[in-house]
């Protein structure tokens, strides 16, 4: 690679400017010649579509599951309320006291 031997900043700036001017006119990989471009693109688009439809179906199914699980969640909540209803705190102060019992430090 030939570059002029320039030791002073001014000359080097000029030389760098010339280098960039020459580089500007160079197309590193020539003209666009990608013969399989459209075929590859179509296959990538098909992948995208599959990916998108998978996400859509997961989204749709998650909603269906959420509605399906709703009665189960209500039943679990009702069961817990019935079995532990007597021991539930009646006020904020009792709630704090009861929660503090679960802490690893004693007050």
């Amino acid at each position: 690679m030939k570059t002029p031997d320039t030791r002073t900043t001014g000359e080097s700036s000029d030389s760098l400017e010339n280098t960039i001017a020459a580089a500007r006119q160079h197309a590193p990989f020539g003209e666009a010649r990608d013969l399989g471009f459209a075929t590859r693109l179509r296959s990538r688009l098909a992948e995208e579509k599959r990916g998108a439809s998978l996400i859509e179906s997961i989204g749709a199914w998650s909603w269906r599951f959420s509605f399906g699980w709703l009665p189960v969640l209500i039943a679990v909540g009702a069961f817990l309320l019935l079995t532990h209803g007597a021991s539930l705190p009646s006020g904020v102060a009792q709630l704090v006291t009861q929660s503090a019992e679960y802490l690893p430090v004693a007050f």
């Binding site: 570059t3 320039t6 280098t19 580089a23 160079h26 003209e31 990608d34 471009f37 590859r40 990538r44």
Partner: protein, 211 residues
């Protein structure tokens, strides 16, 4: 334009004289709006037609960032897919090519950030760079050498600076246009470009001293 010495061309003058439009518009596809509309509604054939029309522009832009032909082909494909994904955000009040180039430049920046570590450790080899039709074409060889030297200098810069120098100095775009393409502010572009040129000049001098 490459203005290393501030007294040659003041940045303010550069901003004033730079075109407010984001770059030259290539020949539009006949009935482009209809193709875009169809592509936005999910028509893959319409999108492929658009992509083929702009393939040359994407190729020219991406070729400044890729290091090998397969890498360039992959990058162009990735940029095209980004365009497909973002097609819904395109509004027809601006030329399609301007929007497309913004997506492409930002995609190239993402590509540089993603591949930076690998690029730093790679040795610059270009086995698949085109050879001149005539091996004695000294002008071609000179330009290719200049590009390879330039690429070495650009490799010293961080991805953001590399994108800026490529747009400003290699593609000769104005500050305003570069700011539009990258989404960075004009003052940020100017400050970063100034620092990047300084870094390049130092690297260039070091390379010259090594020779």
């Amino acid at each position: 334009m490459f203005y290393l010495e501030p007294h040659r061309r003041h940045p303010v003058v550069e901003v004033m004289t730079s075109s407010p439009d984001p770059g030259p518009v290539s020949e539009a596809l006949p009935d482009e709006a209809a193709w875009i509309d169809r592509a936005q509604r999910g028509d893959e054939d319409a999108f492929v037609t658009l992509a083929e029309h702009y393939h040359g522009r994407l190729w020219a832009t991406a070729s400044r960032y890729a290091r090998s032909r397969p890498e360039l082909e992959d990058l162009v494909q990735d940029l095209t897919i980004k365009i497909w994904r973002g097609l819904g955000s395109y509004r027809s009040d601006a030329p399609f090519e301007h929007w497309l180039m913004r997506v492409a430049v930002r995609g190239c920046y993402d590509f540089l950030r993603k591949h930076r570590r690998r690029r730093e450790t790679e040795v610059a080899e270009h086995p698949d760079r085109p050879d001149p039709a005539d091996p004695t074409d000294s002008r071609f060889a000179e330009r290719r050498d200049a590009w390879e030297l330039c690429e070495q200098l650009l490799a010293e810069l961080d991805p953001k600076d590399r994108v800026l120098i490529t747009l400003l100095d290699l593609e000769e775009r104005g500050v305003r246009e570069t700011a539009k393409l990258t989404g960075w502010s004009e003052s940020n572009v100017k400050v970063r470009a100034h620092r990047a040129r300084k870094k390049m000049r130092i690297a260039f001098e070091e390379l010259n001293l090594e020779r």
